[in-house]
């Protein structure tokens, strides 16, 4: 009867107390309080019980309450379970900042007010009881409906092997349907056997089972088996098992280092994607107009501040803010770019060095403007929920969502830009002007107009890069400067003939940087990359993918 009841209550706990009440009455015409009284009274026996009786009481509570008892067990395990001296009621008590104890019901979590320490007594817990509690919690959650709960329970069992849990594990493997949970349970079982089994055959089998696992606990266990202790004895007596363990360790270590380098590649690609976003706009303007826009970093910064403004104006829509910020930043930075082109760069035609200086001046003005308007301090840009957290591939390898999305976003921007340049009439004009300005003008391309639009496009992409960067680093007036020299390097390395050069340049520089970092330290890695580029342009002064032409030089 309790079984059916449990099920009903379990459903009810998910949907709320009122529904639970209705459901219970409708099903069995038994008031909720009667059942709750069963669990409560079972739990109440803990008040003042001697340590020797506690395990029996816990078994009773487990049998009556099922999964509903888990909160109480957890509280007890953490040492938060007390009972009131006055009425022997078992409560969960947590000390607050004021030194008072906040009481709550150990099962439902409902608040029961505050109390002095003197009015409470702790429910006694010993190590044996703790082991029992852990086992009980694991047993109860292993039968949970939610596979994530079961996964967590299996993980708990794996990290605290105990002989008593063996039958539990075996039973759970029989009934488990989720393959991930099964795998974890099997590892837990094998690890358990390794520590507790006296049978060397069983241990050998267990070593085979755990050989592919990346769990830290498995590695520690294997390590302790093959190492000598202080007396010179191996952790594992049987030589055959020891040898198998050694082999398993080698496999595990090589897998860990494999995933380690995968992670480095990922970090490198992530850095590369940031460089790519920052360098794309630069490459376009440089390729078409032959001018280096030193204010490019500040246009990136404007994009990041646009994201901030969008979030300030729409505080209740943080989740969607980035979707609004991307077009907004494109427009803001793009317009500023067009303004710069029309007001300054236009007058400096054919004088790239002067353009470089003038745009540098503009970058100082923009930086100081942001400092004056917003403050020199960093602004906080929120990360939407869907971008936080990480994609856990296994216990040693995970990809953070923000970096993953920024990487994908950079690729999308790259390919959209390729489409724009190769499939639209604007792109045709841009390519014509960048290949041969005077010839393009001669056949009727309005080079001035193309310049303004190209500059706007490049600046707009800088704005988009700013949105992406706001999710990875601090948003402050110096945001642009941190990336600008690196993105120049990408343009120099990749060449301006072709955007593919920028892609290859950015990603390879990012990966190389991240691989050098652990060996040489971040600063030296940067220096080495700079030196490498200086040497590289010895061989190819025009970058990886130079613009083809017939100019004699």
């Amino acid at each position: 009867m309790t079984g059916r009841f449990n099920q009903a209550i379990e459903t009810a706990r998910c949907t709320g107390r009122w529904q639970a009440l209705l459901l219970c009455m409708a099903l069995l015409l038994l008031p909720y309080s009667v059942w709750a009284a069963d669990l409560d009274s079972a739990l109440a026996a803990l008040a003042g019980a001697s340590l020797s009786k506690v395990p029996a009481i816990l078994e009773e509570v487990e049998a009556v309450g099922g999964e509903a008892a888990v909160p109480a067990f957890t509280a007890m395990l953490e040492g938060d379970l007390y009972y009131r001296r006055s009425d022997k009621r078992v409560v969960r008590a947590v000390r607050d900042d004021a030194g008072q104890y906040q009481l709550s019901d150990p099962l439902s979590g409902a608040s029961l007010g505050a109390s002095e320490k003197s009015a409470l007594r702790k429910v006694k817990v010993s190590n044996r009881v703790r082991i029992h509690l852990r086992g009980a919690i694991a047993r109860l959650t292993l039968s949970s409906e939610d596979p994530r709960q079961r996964l967590r329970a299996a993980q708990n069992l794996l990290e605290r092997p105990d002989e008593d849990n063996l039958p539990l594990l075996r039973a759970a493997i029989e009934t488990e349907t989720d393959p991930d949970v099964v795998e974890l349970l099997q590892t837990a079982l094998a690890l358990n056997l390794l520590q507790t089994s006296g049978d060397s055959e069983a241990r050998l089998g267990a070593v085979e089972t755990v050989a592919g696992s990346l769990q830290p606990a498995v590695r520690n266990q294997l390590q302790s088996m093959v190492q000598r202790d202080d007396d010179g004895n191996y952790g594992e007596e049987d030589a055959a098992v020891r040898e198998a363990a050694q082999r398993a360790l080698v496999t595990i270590d090589s897998r860990i280092s494999f995933y380690g380098s995968l992670e480095t590649v990922f970090f490198g690609l992530s850095l590369g994607s940031v460089l790519l976003l920052a360098a794309l706009g630069l490459a376009i303007t440089f390729g078409v107009m032959g001018v280096i826009n030193m204010a490019h970093g500040e246009l990136i910064m404007l994009g990041a501040y646009t994201t901030y403004m969008v979030q300030v104006l729409l505080p209740q829509h943080i989740e969607y803010s980035l979707f609004i910020a991307v077009p907004a930043a494109f427009v803001v930075s793009g317009l500023v770019g067009v303004l710069i082109e029309r007001s300054v760069i236009r007058f400096l035609h054919g004088r790239p060095l002067e353009t470089l200086l003038a745009t540098f001046g503009i970058s100082l003005i923009l930086q100081q403007a942001v400092r004056t308007i917003f403050s020199p301090l960093n602004r906080q840009v929120f990360t939407p929920d869907w971008m936080s957290g990480s994609l856990q591939i296994n216990s040693v390898f995970s990809l953070t969502y923000n970096r993953l999305y920024v990487f994908l976003f950079a690729l999308v921007v790259f390919f959209v830009l390729q489409l724009v340049l190769n499939r639209t009439s604007l792109g045709l004009n841009v390519r014509a002007v960048s290949q041969n300005r005077s010839m393009a003008r001669a056949i009727g391309v309005r080079a001035d107009w193309v310049d303004a639009l190209t500059f706007g496009l490049g600046s707009g992409i800088a704005g988009i890069a700013g949105v992406a960067l706001s999710q990875l680093t601090n948003v402050g007036p110096n945001l642009g400067q941190a990336y600008i020299i690196d993105s120049f390097m990408v343009v120099v390395f990749g060449g301006v003939g072709n955007l593919w050069g920028t892609l290859v340049g950015a990603l390879s520089l990012g990966v190389v940087n991240k691989f050098l970092e652990p060996v040489t330290g971040a600063v030296l890695a940067k220096i080495l990359v700079l030196v490498f580029i200086i040497l590289f342009i010895q061989k190819r002064p025009r970058g990886l993918f130079p613009q083809k032409g017939r100019a004699a030089e």
Partner: protein, 374 residues
Amino acid sequence: MSVATTPVLTGQASAVHELRARAPLFLAVLFGITVLAAIGNLAFPQDSIFHVSTYTITLLGKYLCYALLAMAVDVVWGYCGILSLGHGAFFGLGGYALGMYLMRQIGDRGVYGNPELPDFMVFLNWQELPWYWYGFDQFWFALLMVMLVPGILAFVFGYLAFRSRVVGVYLSIMTQALTYALMLAFFRNEMGFGGNNGLTDFKDLLGFDLQADSTRVGLLLVSALALGLAYVASQWIMGSKMGRVILAIRDDEPRTRFIGFRTERYKIWLFVYSAVLAGIAGALYVPQVGIINPGEFSPLNSIEVVVWVAVGGRGTLYGAVIGAILVNYAKTRFTAVWPEAWLFALGGLFVAVTVFLPQGIVGLFRERLGGRRA
């Protein structure tokens, strides 16, 4: 736009001729002012109206170092069209070389009282002097290094860059990367140059107390002398056959090469000369301001120098000096009164000079004079 089509400089011959004509006037003004300032500081008592404060002397000395640095940039940019955004690197290296000598001169008067090791090394628990600090207790060695280190770096960089024909904005970006890399490197404590804090707390130079008025005046005079010598030397180079080729390179490098000149050699040696000038400027700067730190390598500093030259008027040598002193005077006044506005002003200056005054103040006056004559 008429501004855009105006040739940057008039013909070669007149440029060189003008340099010669201006030299006596330039030297007279330079030494006149410094000697008067020196007398004002040393000969008149504090309350006299002719007294020049030591603060002013030091400020003047600092400006002259900047002027020398600006002249170094002008030599490569104004005469050869090489826009270096990394001259702060050579300036900083020269400064560090002399700073190392000054550091060794402190001896056991440092906070930790270690006769061998500078304070920061004791602080980092270093046991012995790194090999590259050897010799810096000798003044002549430090002086040699002030010129050799920037010179060799410029030679290596120039050799690599000019030989593979890296020109225009590519070259500018690479020079900027060079100084950026040096900044990152010098920020590291492991480099053995005092990391973040750089070298400071200097006591004396060749036995003269650095805090004394007479030393300050002496340093000012030496700076003026260095600037004057650099002017004469640069003028001599530009007037020589090598100078003619250099001007030709600025105006059309491929054509000069086709005529048969190894243009990269001229560029390398001019670059080395300019770097040495910048190194000397740095070495004179350090004892006067009393500190050298990696901030001197920051790309912003180097690019500021270019703006001094642009403001003054490039390709004239004395224009660079005028520009450096004017802009720095403005900076001193501005940052004292209204510090936030300085970056606006500097940024505006960049834009205004490049768009409206491509030949700088000197060019403006020359145009006025020319107009009146015609």
